[in-house]
């Protein structure tokens, strides 16, 4: 049994009903809930500043009624509610484990419980009659980054599940790289949290990053080491077992055997990208972050890399967060996309269905519309 402390925060995915009155409630999902506020994921539109109630269904079929005020609204994504009064979430026994057993209908592993500190209980709704889905390899919760008065990222919340490729899209300066930097622990969020397989990056950076890896155009491998030397150094850092065999495997997989003893700095940009991808795959990461991985590649090599990454994801080895400005590539590769603009997620969905849903001919056209005229799509709440 977990004793819930005053600052307990629940990261959950619970169905809820909400509205100004209980007569005609609309439905949504609670993606995060704390003592003072929660975030409701829904496509329904609410008005900022509006008073409303939120009824949350609990695992034991009880429900919890909360009343509050809409703090911010993101069209197509959801809204944040500040409770009228600090609310103690329901008893821990209802949310966590009962005597060490799972609560019916929920997969509720409890972790990160520190005596006298914040306790966190991560929850996933079970599919009807089925097994609990695997927890996300990446959970980003209410991420915010400000530089003085400038807001770079605001209320960014999303998950990446095993075997899933999620595209993070947006115009230059939208906050994609800032988000990735925060996930990688090289940039501290002003608010919010990042969990890699349930491990808080802020608290246990090294353990969390041991399960991830990345490749980015702005982080080339040292040009003064050979390909094999680079892979050896980073293999040691990532604690790769049977390192030499793994290096040989990756050199073959990324067609780099000819360049084994060539310094990375003299390789073409496409070859350097392949080396960076080989490094990113060294530790068989559960979460792979790829920031424009095909930007320097010719179409044939880019297709090859896309196929490899799809293969990686489809084998269920890990999830991928992928940024790209090539919308055709995104359509081909990503299972889900998040459109980021001015630091906020404005749209989320299947890249093949989203354009149609918003009356656009292609993802590229939708991208341009989101970047230039989000209001024309009914987006831009809070921007």
């Amino acid at each position: 049994m977990i004793e819930v402390k005053e600052k307990t925060r629940f990261l959950s995915e619970l169905s809820c009903a909400f509205g100004p009155t209980p007569d005609a409630p609309r439905s949504g999902t609670i993606t995060s809930i704390g003592l003072r506020e929660c975030f409701v994921k829904t496509k329904a539109i609410v008005i900022e500043g509006q008073d409303l109630f939120v009824r949350v269904w609990m695992p034991d079929n009880r429900w919890l009624r909360l009343s509050g005020r809409v703090k911010y609204h993101m069209s197509g994504v959801g809204f944040g509610v500040v409770f009228a009064a600090p609310t103690r979430p329901p008893s821990a026994s209802g949310l966590g484990r009962r005597g060490g057993r799972r609560v019916a209908g929920l997969h509720a592993p409890c972790h990160n419980v520190f005596k006298g500190e914040t306790a966190e209980i991560r929850m996933r709704k079970t599919e009807a009659g089925g097994a609990a889905p695997a927890p996300g390899v990446l959970s980003v919760e209410g991420l915010r980054k400000t530089y003085g008065a400038t807001v770079a990222v605001e209320a960014v919340t999303f998950d990446v599940r095993p075997g899933e490729i999620v595209g993070l899209l947006g115009p230059n300066g939208a906050g994609k790289t800032t988000t990735i930097s925060m996930i990688l622990g090289v940039l501290e969020p002003t608010a919010g949290a990042v969990f890699i397989e349930g491990i808080d990056v802020r608290r246990e950076r090294s353990r969390a990053l041991g399960r991830t890896n990345f490749a980015a155009v702005y982080a080339p491998l040292p040009g003064n080491l050979t390909v094999a030397q680079s892979l050896r150094v980073f293999g040691m850092i990532y604690g790769v077992a049977r390192l030499q065999a793994r290096i040989d495997e990756l050199l073959a997989e990324f067609d780099l055997r000819l360049f084994r003893d060539t310094k990375c700095g003299v390789l073409s940009s496409g070859e350097q990208t392949r080396v960076a991808l080989a490094k990113a795959m060294l530790n068989r990461p559960h979460l792979l972050l790829l920031d424009e991985p095909t930007a320097s590649l010719d179409p044939s090599s880019a297709r090859d890399i896309r196929a490899r990454m799809r293969g990686f994801a489809s084998r269920g080895e890990g999830g991928v967060l992928w940024t790209s400005h090539n919308m055709y590539e995104v359509e081909e590769v990503c299972d889900r996309v998040l459109f980021l603009s001015k630091g906020r997620i404005l749209l989320e969905g299947d890249p093949r269905a989203l354009p149609r849903e918003h009356g656009r001919a292609s993802l590229e056209e939708l991208f341009i519309t989101v970047a230039r005229e989000p209001l024309s799509l009914g987006l831009g709440g809070g921007l």
């Binding site: 930097s181 990688l184 940039l187 501290e188 950076r205 040691m236």
Partner: protein
């Protein structure tokens, strides 16, 4: 702390050294020039000064110990600067590598590079100018230890400065040993210094080493308690500078400097 990760930082430096004359030569070339220059100066001084006093262990020994200290310091900072020059911060700091492991890797690199310099200096000073460290006896071990620890501490200060103020600030780092030397009393007794400088000297572990060394050369005995104090100070400095580096790293993570290091400032 995982030793394999610290070893990775060290292995990277080994790879860089291998086959790179531009990196290997400075490990011993400048200290060798120093030993030759000061070796001849001490020979000359022995001919013009009053007989009975041997300048070789007093001056040349001091130069050797001081150069060892500077090599240790530069060993740490150069290993760090390799990551600055190669723009490798993101690859390292966005990995499971911990700050303690990274610093341990830099120190391992410095042990290797300073050992090369020390070996060459001992060879030259012994073979050409007849300097024998046997004159220092058992005290040589604490002398070297205190200088090594202080060199590491100063090296980490240098890395923290560069991390905080950007790549251009490396020019602050190179002259750091020269800045310390007047206070450390490398070539003269601390009693030569004015009171305020002696106050600073008391805070510098190398000053206890050089005072002890002069006492031994003069036929007396070095104070073990002074050396112990120097060693304790050096250990305290190591802890302090590790804390300082962690603070600077934290600042860089908070402001985004790590992610945009070449910009030098993002705040």
């Amino acid at each position: 702390m995982k030793a394999r990760r610290a070893a990775a930082v060290f292995v990277r430096q080994l790879y860089l050294m291998r086959g790179s004359a531009a990196r290997v030569l400075p490990l011993f070339a400048w200290v060798a020039v120093d030993i030759i220059l000061w070796g001849f100066i001490t020979r000359y001084l022995n001919t013009v000064a009053s007989p009975g006093f041997n300048f070789v262990p007093a001056l040349l020994g001091a130069v050797l110990l001081w150069d060892f200290f500077a090599r240790v310091m530069h060993g740490v900072t150069t290993a760090f600067l390799e990551d600055v020059w190669a723009r490798n911060f993101l690859n390292f700091f966005a990995s499971p590598l911990k700050i303690s492991e990274y610093l341990a890797g830099l120190v391992l690199s410095s042990v290797a590079t300073s050992a090369v310099g020390l070996a060459v200096m001992l060879l030259l000073a012994g073979a050409v100018f007849g300097l024998s460290f046997a004159a220092y006896g058992l005290l040589l071990a604490p002398f070297m230890l205190v200088l090594f620890l202080t060199g590491v501490a100063l090296g980490i200060v240098g890395t923290a400065v560069v991390l905080r103020f950007g790549p251009a600030s490396e020019w602050f780092v190179w002259p750091l040993p020269a800045l310390v030397s007047p206070f450390a009393g490398v070539f003269y007794p601390l009693s030569t210094l004015p009171a305020w400088m002696r106050g600073v000297s008391r805070l510098l572990p190398p000053s206890y080493v050089f005072e002890g060394m002069r006492a031994v050369v003069a036929g007396g005995a070095a104070s073990w308690s002074s050396l112990g104090w120097g060693a304790l100070l050096a250990c305290v400095y190591i802890l302090l500078v590790c804390w300082l580096f962690a603070r600077v790293h934290r600042h860089a993570v908070r402001t985004g400097l790590i992610a945009r290091y070449s910009a030098e400032s993002v705040s």
